[in-house]
Subunit: 480 residues, 2 copies
């Protein structure tokens, strides 16, 4: 892995100076010329560093005087607290589908000016042009593309690229052992159907991605919500406690890297421990790894499957968040359940069509993919920083937020007992869509949380929307 570009290192240096109080709000930072001399960098590097800090909201440019440290009207956001490793709720059917559908339907009744509810980045963050060229080329090269059914399992070139990429997550898997699916959603459905029956208990993180709760409910399976840390993900102590109480846990589903909504990343030691724990109990371990390419840091994150020795880990992922929200391309490597997963895929939807697979294979096989990812991570980092700063500046005291090391989302805890559904409704009335915390659990435990998507380039309009949102929260917080 390459280290961060020079201008980022420079910006980091001054960020550190600001955070430690060496540079205070209102202080002038060294001029661009001075930066060049001090650090021995080029004009463009010095300029890029300043612009970066400006777009991150750390500095402000004053015409003809240079860059100054911005006044922060607020202390940095406090982090979300660690959960207590309590016994989870008894698993039960609670109509999460209807709750979510009702909220979603309300969200679609009104025009949306600013959308913080997305599940991926803004279109401008993805290489639509490159993918489109690749697709056009595939059409030219394969005149009979639409005339015959696709390879079962997936397009060989696409599976080969996926297998090569998996090495970065320390997974060794043959192309033939990867099955292409309609997104991570289909992969999760297949994984669950392969290892569990209706009525079975499935342990999930709490809070968890609502899509997973919907899948479980639609399959008639029961979600057992395991407390999870905003830093390290699922609590292994709580999981152990749960297993002592419920002897019928059939599978564990986790997002080990950049969990949705927490943004947590499981440390390698926890990953190893979880794989061994499941293996010892013959509990299937399903990982949803659709965000890990969005993590910052020098080395890519390992997948749970990196520790899999017995074929008991099912790895699911997709391109939806990292490359192409407009393609329905996901995949699954299901270890010892692969044959059953293939059969279920065939009977559920048949093999995916070829065109998108060909285009994605070409793009991902070129250097453009890694360049795109680097740019995307950088944009998301800056956008998250700016949203976080606006929250710190505008939201009522007592607001807490996650500070994930990558990804699309911030998980925001509202002060007092502000109900997220009320925030949702009042924000909607102002044309602003958020995801209320109630959607991330079958319980009401996260009722005073919001998930905010930071996938859209930060603009004045977004800043204003966050101010409106803050006012909505403040108004509700003041109510007795």
């Amino acid at each position: 892995m390459e280290s961060a570009p020079l201008y980022r290192q420079l910006a980091q240096h001054y960020l550190h100076a600001i955070e430690t109080g060496v540079l205070k709000p209102g202080d002038r930072v060294p001029s661009v010329r001075t930066l060049m001399e001090l650090h021995g960098v080029s004009l463009s590097t010095a300029l890029q560093a300043c612009r970066q800090m400006e777009s991150d909201g750390l500095l402000e440019a004053r015409p003809r005087s240079g860059y100054f440290v911005r006044h922060r009207r607020h202390k940095p956001l406090a982090p979300i607290e660690e959960p207590v490793a309590t016994l989870p709720d008894p698993a039960q059917y609670v109509g999460i589908h209807e709750r979510i559908s009702a909220i979603t339907a309300r969200g679609h009744q009104q025009p949306v000016a600013v959308n913080f509810a997305g599940a991926c980045g803004a279109p401008a963050l993805y290489p639509a042009q490159g993918l489109r060229n690749a697709a056009a080329r595939a059409l030219r090269l394969h005149p009979q593309l639409f005339g015959s059914a696709a390879d079962s399992g997936g397009h060989p070139a696409f599976r080969a690229v996926l297998a090569r990429n998996a090495l970065l997550s320390r997974i060794t898997v043959a192309p033939e052992d990867i099955l292409v699916t309609h997104g991570c959603t289909e992969a999760l459905n297949l994984a669950l159907r392969a290892v569990a029956q209706p009525g079975d208990v499935i342990a999930v993180e709490s809070p968890t991605y609502y899509g997973l709760l919907q899948i479980l409910e639609s399959l008639g399976m029961r979600a057992l919500e395991i407390p999870s840390s905003p830093q390290t993900g699922i609590s292994l102590e709580a999981l152990e406690l749960a297993a002592q109480t419920y002897d019928n846990i059939r599978a564990v589903v986790v997002v080990p890297n950049l969990q949705n909504p927490l943004g947590s990343i499981m440390p390698d030691a926890n990953k190893a421990q979880l794989v061994a724990w499941c293996d010892a109990r013959a509990i299937a371990l399903i990982e949803d790894d659709c965000f890990s390419a969005l993590a910052e840091g020098d080395a890519p994150l390992a997948a749970l499957k990196a520790w899999d020795r017995s074929g008991g880990v099912i790895h699911c992922a997709s391109l939806h968040k990292i490359l192409a929200p407009g393609m329905r391309l996901g995949w699954i490597a299901a270890g010892k359940w692969q044959a059953r997963v293939e059969m279920l895929k065939y009977s559920q939807s048949r093999p995916n069509e070829l065109l998108a697979q060909m285009a994605a294979a070409e793009f991902m096989g070129s250097g453009a993919f890694e360049r795109h990812l680097r740019r995307l991570r950088e944009q998301l980092r800056s956008q998250r920083a700016q949203v976080a700063q606006a929250i710190a500046a505008e939201f009522p005291a007592g607001t807490r937020a996650s500070n994930p090391n990558g990804g699309l989302h911030l998980w925001v805890e509202l002060p007092g007992s502000v109900p997220s559904e009320a925030v949702f409704d009042q924000a909607m009335a102002a044309g602003i869509r958020v995801v209320p915390g109630v959607m991330f659990s079958n319980s009401n435990r996260f009722d005073h949380f919001l998930r905010l998507n930071c996938g859209t380039p930060f603009t004045l309009e977004i800043e204003r929307a966050l101010r409106t949102l803050a006012a909505v929260v403040a108004r509700l917080a003041d109510k007795p």
Copy 2:
């Protein structure tokens, strides 16, 4: 609707003369010049009629002497007998998936020279070029296509074309009430999941498309096989008898038009009766209408949903057989279950991606679609006729076959008790793939049947393969 072209009418006229013995094998048919005078048609029409009959295997051209009626070495094939309306087998789990997978796996172990096992036509039968141009245009017109997630429900233009097309089947449905799916397969999964639970009993035709048996098994539902007529489809008497015995039938699934494998078409009176019968018992009626555009005849066939007054009929179809085997595009209009089907689709695979929908919408909205269908029907008619004739000429006495009014398949009953799996294995050894009858039922009732796909233009190679197949059958029939 337009009636058959003039040359087809002329060919029909002489076919009739041959079938009734007015013209005998070896007889010379009137010269092209005489045909022109007799029937008042143009040179090209008279020529086309003769070439048609030649390619259908009715006539042979002798250089410089004209066309002669071919010698048939065999009486016309006897039709498949009507089933007896017996009580169906008790519904049970029988591992159809494993049986089918085992057969399919054997089929993939050896190279295939001639494939009679396909589920659609040869690539040359589909307008790959037109679809490809439409896709390229969509890519040009929508630069952000891969950058953002697709409309839920489906692309509006595609749904609008589907709604317009549905009028031909006498279905009135709004575009918003059509949900785009990954093929008819996904539509059937959603329909069944919407109306039934694991353990529920589902009435199906017998024989039936093995894909449906796989879907039922994978959903943990139980198939109740209802005897079905090669002419008129599911036996309503047998269904009534079944309902008197099993009071827990939750849904009926039928292919009303060109059933797979029988090729049967339900008469309108039966369709009306079946819809009313299900309605009166609050049994969901799921129709799989993916072949009807391949039916010959002057007027398009009506769908079951044409008689639906209460929203109890779920209509499923796809483009796989009629337009684009290489696109995974199907749809569902689920009447009163539409909201539940939408929810299940969302949680099973999210909305389909846009590109193929855009390309299909453009193609289907143009006159090219109807021109393609006319050509396709004509090709299939001729190919079916030639395969049927080769069977009549080469297979042992006692062989029977369906004579469907359209579609891709012939359903062939082997004489004596020749087991289709043995035929399958011995044919595979000669590089010929067929579908053995055992795959079309959870019972062994159709063990001595084969389904032959006629979707490939008839060549000497195919004629030779049918001769080899006939020899395999004859050898097995001679065994004690």
